[in-house]
Symmetry: none
Subunit: 262 residues, 3 copies
């Protein structure tokens, strides 16, 4: 029990709850004292899985506490956190992201208030690092779609969702922005497709994260446990099943390509 | 019971299920024979509330059946449906929209197969009707944000979620696209913020839909019922509560402005 | 209409809302006056389906009202309610459960305040009824996994999700705790897998609930209706479809085993 309370304090940078309910006791003893302590993913990487889970759940107190902890511990910079909100917006919808964004501002202010420091000005938006011309954005988006998804083709443009949305914005702009690396974007994306759990995106993003070697097989297994512990076992179990299938697929492709099978 | 089956056939353009389970019987007798028949929103308008509900739920068969019915009845054109998928993607996340988009293609093919007709080519994406220059897009986005949200200010740009996301894409491009009117976009948006149910967006979009008079008070009440019947009473009750509060707010503002209080 | 208001008061142990909106009127007349009154599941059993639905929906007022009603009516003891929160945490994720847990404490305090009574101390967590030694926990977890899922095998341990999560915690500890019987745990679990609606868990838990005879075919049909009325028809229709398939499977297995086909 003490182990759970110490683990909570360490991860959340705040005192553990006093509450003795079965739910809280198990949260401390299992999620904090066991899951978060495991090797395979760093504490910083586990935050990129956990933040989408709490933001998706619309649970005010856990969202606030995890945003605070990620920033207060120094595990994420404010620019990384703000970029994570944008990435989350795309994969979980703007309404939930809008609340997440407000919580980030509130907790950033709180941290500076607690430290007696002024809040620094935000990084300027412009200039964008991606092209502005529509034709150029679509071309960049098509290449980025292929790279991120590890696919030899891009969807056709003449469909509003695919053209105006996916190619023009999601891959032509969002995935190419600075402040988050591919590994971090993968962790956020896989967590989001796992709670959204639409059939195709969960396959395609687990596949691409493994195929690109941005996330190793062992890291992906840990991602599934971190996710299940925070978003529930049914969706966790489905993610784990998809991971098993996509590992087989990637292993077979690597073997056929003569690539090293990690 | 016959009333339920006839209503189902009429709305879904397909035979009613034969299944005698309590769940299906209540679906026919309550949702189809009562809710869909009410005045206040047309059948076409009810589809813009129902489609986001079934797409959000990831329930394969209901999504397929409602997409088919909306297109096969002629209530929505294919261009309107495809634009609805993009609008939904923004408010419910791309993974769910990705499946919705595939289902639209499948059902559009099926309708043409059933009719022995070739599938017409899609409308071309380019040229876009919104500016390409980043500064111009942000300016357009700021004005559109104010117009759509009925607010005198726009969020600051130097935040990835607000700048690169909200101003640059959601309001600088997406809300301004052709093929859906403001009323249709409002119906989709309110349904999406209602199932996402993050605290602030649900207030702001219900408020703006009423304040803009794009949706009347009576239409909004019907929207809440149509939503509750398809996405469940807990979120429906919450939406209904928010509607009550926002009606008061809008009535008070109209009174203060000397505007007619509808 | 009076019937709906009386039904609400009886179930919720509080006055019905005065609101005359179409959504509220249909909630009273359909959900309270019809669904909750049906035979097949008791009022207490319907609460184990409804509580996960309102907790998942993150809809503050319905969650508060249903927690209050379940405790205030005496249908659930506080120990059962707290155990239900833990079970829900595992199947719907800790963030949502964390809010549910707070609401339970708030409403338990409110009930005692209204009655002028002191809040009794909570039941002590320790000693646990399950073994602490890791090897013993995994063995117990493997047996419990087989028993609960009605399967002849358990998943392999050497996978973080399956070993550290499923065997060690979910089946090695959680399902074996006191204060909820198997029928109650089944009702909660099926409601949770139905709203999470990942493909495999919904099949496996509906199957196991029927195969174990913890829930009869007729009770399962009522569960689907209670669920659909509270969580929406798209997911309710999907659950109903899965139930139909799993009944066939269980009937065929019982016939092959020479077991009575209920």
């Amino acid at each position: 029990m003490d182990r759970g309370r110490r683990a909570y304090t360490d991860i959340m940078t705040a005192p553990a709850p006093d509450d003795t309910s079965p739910a809280t006791q198990h949260l401390l003893d299992f999620v904090f004292a066991e899951v978060w302590q495991r090797p395979g993913l760093t504490r910083r990487e586990r935050r990129f899985v956990t933040l989408p889970c709490v933001a998706a759940a619309d649970a005010e107190a856990p969202m606030r506490d995890h945003v605070y902890a990620a920033l207060n511990s120094g595990d994420l910079s404010i620019d990384e956190m703000r970029e994570a909100v944008l990435h989350f917006a795309v994969y979980a919808g703007w309404p939930k992201a809008s609340r997440f964004n407000m919580v980030v501002d509130e907790q950033w202010d709180r941290i500076h208030r607690e430290r007696g420091l002024p809040v620094p000005p935000p990084a300027p938006l412009l200039p964008l690092s991606t092209p502005s011309d529509p034709e150029a954005r679509l071309s960049v988006g098509e290449q980025s779609f292929k790279d991120v998804n590890c696919l030899p083709f891009a969807p056709q443009r003449d469909n509003p969702f695919q053209g105006a949305g996916i190619l023009n914005f999601v891959f032509g702009e969002m995935w190419l922005r600075p402040n988050l690396g591919m590994k971090e974007r993968r962790l956020i994306t896989v967590a989001c497709v796992a709670f959204q759990d639409s059939p195709y995106p969960i396959l395609s993003h687990v596949y691409a994260a493994l195929k690109s070697r941005d996330i190793s097989f062992e890291e992906m297994d840990e991602l599934a446990l971190q996710f299940a512990a925070h978003y529930g076992w049914p969706k966790g179990s489905h993610l784990n099943h998809v991971i098993g299938e996509q590992k087989e697929r990637v292993r077979a492709e690597w073997a056929a390509e003569g690539a090293p099978v990690s």
